[in-house]
């Protein structure tokens, strides 16, 4: 099943906000739609329901994706998030979200702390959401 343009724009905006904590600027979302067309990405009804529930309930898409990736490998939610990452990384406004230009010891130490806290937190949260909304 191919998603409509409006559906993809809404979904892209939502995932972008979850990924970067920011509103996606104008050219990125049309590219997100075009990428789906180029890849001929289709969703089955079960996955469409998953996306709708995530967006309607403003759920933590990244934790859900993480748990699903650990359970069943990369899935359509991973693909959609990856598309946004590709588009953001190649744009002149967002590449700094992926590449550092200077030394930053504090950021490195913070990453190490996050590894110890964020992984169990997201794993637990993702598992609860997957179970509660029957995404498994």
């Amino acid at each position: 099943m191919i998603q409509s343009q409006e559906e993809l724009i809404r979904e892209g905006g939502f995932l972008f906000r979850k990924l970067f904590g920011d509103v996606a600027e104008a050219p990125l979302l049309p590219l997100y739609v075009a990428a789906h067309e180029a890849l001929n990405l289709q969703v089955d009804p079960r996955f469409r329901r998953l996306l709708t529930v995530i967006i309607d309930h403003n759920l933590d898409a990244l934790s859900i994706e993480y748990v699903l990736r650990l359970r069943v490998g990369e899935n359509l939610l991973s693909t959609k998030i990856a598309i946004l990452c590709y588009l953001a990384e190649s744009s002149n406004t967002h590449w700094r979200r992926f590449w550092s230009e200077s030394a930053n010891v504090t950021a490195c130490l913070f990453i190490i702390v996050r590894i110890f806290f964020e992984i169990p937190f997201r794993y637990l949260k993702g598992n609860i959401l997957v179970r509660r909304y029957d995404f498994a």
Partner: protein
């Protein structure tokens, strides 16, 4: 079917490393080279320089990195093979047309073949390795017989590197250009290794500079390497050798009749010549070409296809080898927060040699920085939530590199190629068991402050090593029609030679391309003598 009535001395099939090396050796002969020969698209002039600089200058790199048709996202398609070097918009020509023209069916093969001018060497890591006598033990010739060809190639293509601790395995080379500049991580590994050399040698591990077909000095109009970190995105970088450069040179000097747009399908041997059938990919028509000798250099898989098709054989399963490949990161926490490395390169900087147990044999690893591919390419490969993976790469990339471990190819009844009735090639590869050597390397690297964990060993799917070989192996006493003599000639043939990886007798862990080239020159020389 049309006919080209000219009887050529030699017809070479394919313009990859093997075909081009043979053509280099056959200068002065009447040589026709048939090749599909897809060429790279024109790269806009503004996409030059250094990648991080291009980003910092606020360029929108979408069309260069992703492509107007979203080519770089092709690895997201279901069932994609996902070699990161073969999908950028200016690089995907390397695997163009394969599905339609030379289809492969497989459940467990994740490899690639190329119909481009220069073949898969358009995206190679440029690692250049001479095979030792030990590695050539099953071949019907020794190192001394290959040496003059290795030396000639070193001068022709330009090899940078050093005669260092790896010399017993890489062998002495007089003609080396200075090695490429090392990044901080690689430099630290090497200096600490030198301080602990005895410890490593007791544990049979050795580290040294990579030998690369990459110029650090000008050669024949090609410019030295500029550390642009564009290897994943830009084709035919002047400093990095591709056989396409030699094709241009040979054609310009009138040494080669190169015809692109032709896919060779089969051959028939007659009394004193060979008839080669090729398909024009534009018009989809067949044409016959005649030659006194034919050199098959279409790459191990396509050469196997041509041979099986010429024998009209849809039953035989030819053996096939590839190097099992794994990757694992090595962290140096002392480098935390040191910022981006000033050495911008996606090339291999160091090589590790590990003499494993007799069952495993010698294992070779190449050490790379992690700034080559797009970050989006690798985020999902870490067992981390994606936002954490993004920040991890962003801030921690200065303190880890990637070791890619190549194992020798091993024979298995599950590894074979077979021609199906519809002329598609069925390829089967059993997944190899890896991991033991990586754990040992990790333990040894701890001594010099580099850490990793067995959970971070990523085994690659079979075929992704792109080192296919030994489907039509050279033997001292060939026993079947699908084995070659020591001259590379198919044993049931008078005039058809195999010069690519298909004729390898075994597949050592070291990258085979340089030896394919040297052996191809050796065979071409024998063919030339035979014609004389």
């Amino acid at each position: 079917m049309s006919v080209d009535t000219t009887l050529r001395d030699i017809l070479i099939v394919g313009a990859g490393p093997a075909g081009v090396s043979a053509a280099l050796q056959l200068k002065g002969r009447d040589v026709l080279m048939l090749d599909v020969g897809f060429c790279p698209p024109a790269v806009p002039t503004e996409f030059t320089g250094e990648l991080s600089q291009l980003r910092a200058e606020n360029n929108d790199l979408f069309s260069h990195l992703i492509g107007e048709h979203f080519q770089s996202l092709s690895n997201l398609k279901a069932g994609a093979k996902g070699n990161l070097k073969l999908k950028a918009p200016y690089m995907d020509y390397i695997v163009r047309g394969v599905e339609e023209l030379t289809p492969i069916v497989s459940d467990n093969f994740h490899g690639q073949i190329s119909l481009s001018r220069g073949g898969l060497a358009n995206a190679w890591g440029a690692g250049v390795f001479r095979f030792t006598d030990q590695e050539l033990a099953d071949f019907p010739f020794n190192y001394a017989e290959l040496t003059p060809y290795y030396d000639t190639l070193t001068k022709h293509i330009g090899v940078s590197g050093e005669n260092d601790d790896l010399q017993p395995w890489f062998l002495h080379d007089e003609g080396l250009q200075p090695p490429i500049k090392l990044g901080i991580l690689a430099e630290t590994i090497l200096s600490r290794y030198h301080r602990h050399r005895q410890f490593f040698s007791q544990n049979r591990m050795y580290i040294g500079r990579s030998r690369l077909a990459v110029l650090t000095r000008e050669l024949g109009g090609r410019t030295p390497y500029r550390y642009g970190n564009l290897e994943f995105f830009k084709p035919e970088i002047s400093a990095i050798y591709t056989p396409a450069f030699s094709v241009e040179q040979l054609v310009a000097n009138g040494h080669l009749d190169y015809r692109s747009g032709w896919l060779v399908e089969s051959y028939i041997e007659k009394d004193n010549h060979v008839e080669v059938t090729a398909r024009n990919i534009e018009t989809n028509t067949l044409k016959l070409f005649f030659a006194r000798r034919v050199l098959l250099a279409a790459g191990a898989l396509n050469t196997s296809r041509i041979v099986l098709r010429s024998h009209n054989d849809h039953i035989t399963q030819l053996p096939i080898l590839d190097n099992p490949l794994t990757a694992f990161p090595l962290f140096n926490l002392g480098m935390l927060g040191t910022g981006p490395d000033s050495c911008n390169s996606s090339l291999s900087q160091l090589n590790f040699i590990f003499e494993g147990s007799p069952e495993v044999g010698l294992v070779q690893a190449s050490f790379y920085g992690v700034n080559g591919p797009l970050r989006a390419d690798v985020l999902m490969r870490l067992p981390l939530p994606v936002s954490l993976a993004r920040d991890f790469f962003k801030h921690m990339s200065s303190c880890f590199g990637l070791a890619m471990c190549f194992y020798p190819g091993s024979w298995s009844p599950n590894n074979f190629v077979q021609l199906k009735e519809d002329n598609t090639l069925m390829v089967s590869f059993a997944q190899a068991a890896c991991g033991a050597v990586e754990r040992k390397i990790m333990r040894l690297m701890r001594r010099i402050g580099y850490f990793s964990h067995p959970l971070l060993i990523f085994p690659s799917m079979m075929g992704s090593g792109l080192h296919y070989a030994a489907s039509l192996p050279m033997r001292r006493n060939p026993k079947s029609a699908y084995e070659c003599t020591s001259e590379g000639k198919l044993s049931d043939s008078n005039s058809v030679y195999v010069v690519d990886g298909a004729c390898f007798s075994t597949l050592p862990a070291k990258n085979l391309t340089f030896t394919i080239m040297a052996n191809s020159m050796r065979i071409a020389n024998l063919v030339q003598d035979g014609l004389a």
